[in-house]
Amino acid sequence: MSPRPDLSRFLRWDVAVGVLLVAVFATGAGSTEGFATTGNLAFALNDIAPVAIIALPMTLLVVAGEIDLSVASMLGLSSALSGKLWDAGWAFETIVPVVLVVGVLGGLLNGWLVTKVGLPSLAVTIGTLTLYRGLASVALGSNAITDFPEKYANWTSDTTTVLGFIPYPIALFAVLAVITAVVLHATGFGRSLFAIGAQEQAAWFAGIRVKRIKLLLFVLTGLFSAFAGIVFTLRYGSARADNGLGFEMLVIASVLLGGVDFDGGKGTLGGAIAGLLLIGFLKNLLILNDVANEIQVIVTGLLLVASVTTPRVIAAVLERRHRRAAA
């Protein structure tokens, strides 16, 4: 991410959000009994697993200055498809790779339309959002497939966990997150993502394969979304065309909340994850305290607004003070 002037170095969104997350956790543990229990943590984490998995490639994509709104629909498609195939008597071991391939294809379509045809990703993925969701209901219609064998379903249950409170999907997510973080922040590939996001033409002139990289990112996003679809299906033991409806906004919200700049070229994976956990745990805490859903919605909104405004405001104040000092 681009370096900022000394003052605001400590006022970055991601840091702010991280602090907020800790605060929420502390208050929760203090005030609300039943919050800090392993059981609660386990399912609170499990609740955000699908969103979390998608958020990883989405962060890379947004850093590179693109966006993918079709992720939730791809989740639905993958869910519907696995249901369809399972119903048709396929072995789960064959279903998973097939569904993942579909995810890759979906990503390819997005990427192709953006890089080769040269359409804005926002427009393209709004289109594929409708398309993939549609294909999902074509695949499964109004049916719901539910008879997934326990031995797979258990893999996503709240009760089978690592360290007593980390469900397998989250454990896997953690591993992927570390890898993604390294790729984004330590490797040349990561560097080129920031370059593309900040100044695409300059990146191209510097010999960075802009289009190929973007294509790859879209494919990754499709793949992860499809995988999230499988996790979702197993956890809720129900494959339906409308699974994960509207999740795209949740993913975008968490990534943006973490301070990843939609204009590209800025952001940290840590921030994105912090944003994700913040939304997840805050929701959990509010529900536990019987806060009406409407209020939860409002709080989410306020968080988003606050997360971007507060650092700017503080920075501005310090800036003014500094200028007075200089003069």
């Binding site: 039943g34 229990t37 059981g39 609660n40 399912f43 609170a44 609740d47 209901s137 219609g141 109004s142 719901a144 539910t146 008879d147 997934f148 064998p149 326990e150 797979y152 379903a153 258990n154 996503t156 249950s157 709240d158 979702f232 197993l234 956890r235 809720y236 033991g237 129900s238 339906r240 065309a241 409308d242 699974n243 994960g244 409806l245 509207g246 929701k283 959990n284 529900i287 536990l288 019987d290 009406a292 859903n293 409407e294 919605v297």
Partner: protein, 336 residues
């Protein structure tokens, strides 16, 4: 974990073990201070609000405290988060209208294991995931009677269409199933079901679906909309279009929504049970369960306050009663 056909048999064993372990004591008094929670499909669904409010009022009668919690999107996944938190809060009973009969199963079983009573209303869950299902009216009866009523209105001739809610709504699909069975009977050979359209319980979408239906099938004679949102939208479009008087609309609606169209003659009749009674009954059923009056086994009976005594049918189903048919003559008698 998810529910499998195998496991459903096994865990329904465990489910029934929850019920059979405690033996029913019909004379046990209703416990006071019971904590029960209504979990509707979505908190801003007007119909569900009516149901839950009367349920909450009912709970007051027997000295319990009831609350309504839930998501604003009618999705199963968000219902699950709420079930989990209700378990954490150790409620005595959870009453829910399932957005997806199976997605909510795992946490509900968890709840029953912890001794929390589970009552489904309005939209059922898989049978082994709850102790009781309070059915507004037998699904079969709803499905068939709607077709019967429309049949009479059209004297068994002409093309008809169904305007449903979302493609995956459990109760809708069950009813539609029975409608098709009824239509298969010989006396309906003059009537053909040309299309099932989905308005997603979204007023504006249902409105446009109706337009589309009438444009696509100019000779359409009747529309059945087994959802309060759908029938209102359909009636409204027809009342302001050139099709008024040419197309019969029937289905499930609330008197307050439909009054205008019954009065202006767009709609001759529609039906619905009294949602207030549904919530009321559900509350009492939950109380009876928690107080050990009943276990959810077939044949048991319990008293539901002013509504009188109810008997548990097969699969732990309790049926509220016959739906009321509303028309010019009686509609002003109702306000919900």
């Amino acid at each position: 974990g998810g529910t499998t056909k195998k496991s459903s048999s096994s865990s329904s064993g465990s489910g029934s073990s929850v019920t059979s372990s405690a033996t029913a004591n019909p004379d046990a008094p209703l416990k006071t201070g019971l904590k029960i929670a209504f979990l509707p499909k979505a908190i801003n669904n007007p119909y569900e609000t009516i149901v839950d409010d009367s349920g909450i009022a009912g709970a007051k009668e027997f000295g319990g405290t009831a609350k309504e919690v839930g998501p604003s999107d009618s999705s199963a996944s968000s219902q699950v988060s709420y079930i989990n938190t209700l378990i954490q809060q150790q409620q005595n009973a959870i009453l829910l209208a399932a957005n997806d009969p199976n997605a909510v199963c795992a946490p509900l079983k968890e709840a029953m294991k912890k001794g929390i009573k589970v009552v489904a209303y309005d939209s059922d869950t898989a049978k082994d995931c709850r102790q009781l299902f309070i059915n507004q009216a037998s699904s079969e009866q709803i499905g068939r009677s709607l077709v019967q009523n429309l049949g009479k209105q059209l004297n068994y001739k002409g093309k008809i269409a169904i305007l449903s809610a979302t493609q995956n709504a459990t109760n809708q699909n069950t009813w539609i199933g029975f409608m098709k069975q009824e239509l298969a009977l010989p006396k309906y050979k003059g009537m053909t079901l040309v299309k099932v359209a989905y308005g997603d319980d979204d007023d504006q979408k249902s409105f446009q679906q109706t337009q589309g239906l009438l444009a696509a099938y100019p000779d359409l004679k009747g529309i059945i909309s087994p959802t309060t949102v759908g029938i209102a939208a359909a009636a409204r479009y027809i009342s302001s279009s050139s099709y008024k008087g040419k197309v019969v609309v029937n289905g499930l609606g609330t008197p307050n929504q439909m009054r205008k169209y019954v009065k202006d003659g767009t709609v001759a009749q529609f039906s619905l049970w009294n949602p207030k009674n549904l919530g009321y009954l559900a509350a009492y059923a939950a109380a009876a369960l928690s107080s050990g009056q009943i276990t959810g086994a077939e044949g048991e009976t319990f008293k539901a306050g002013k509504l009188g005594t109810y008997k548990i049918g097969a699969n732990g189903e309790v049926i509220l009663g016959k739906p009321t048919v509303f028309d010019k003559s009686n509609i002003d008698g109702f306000n919900f």
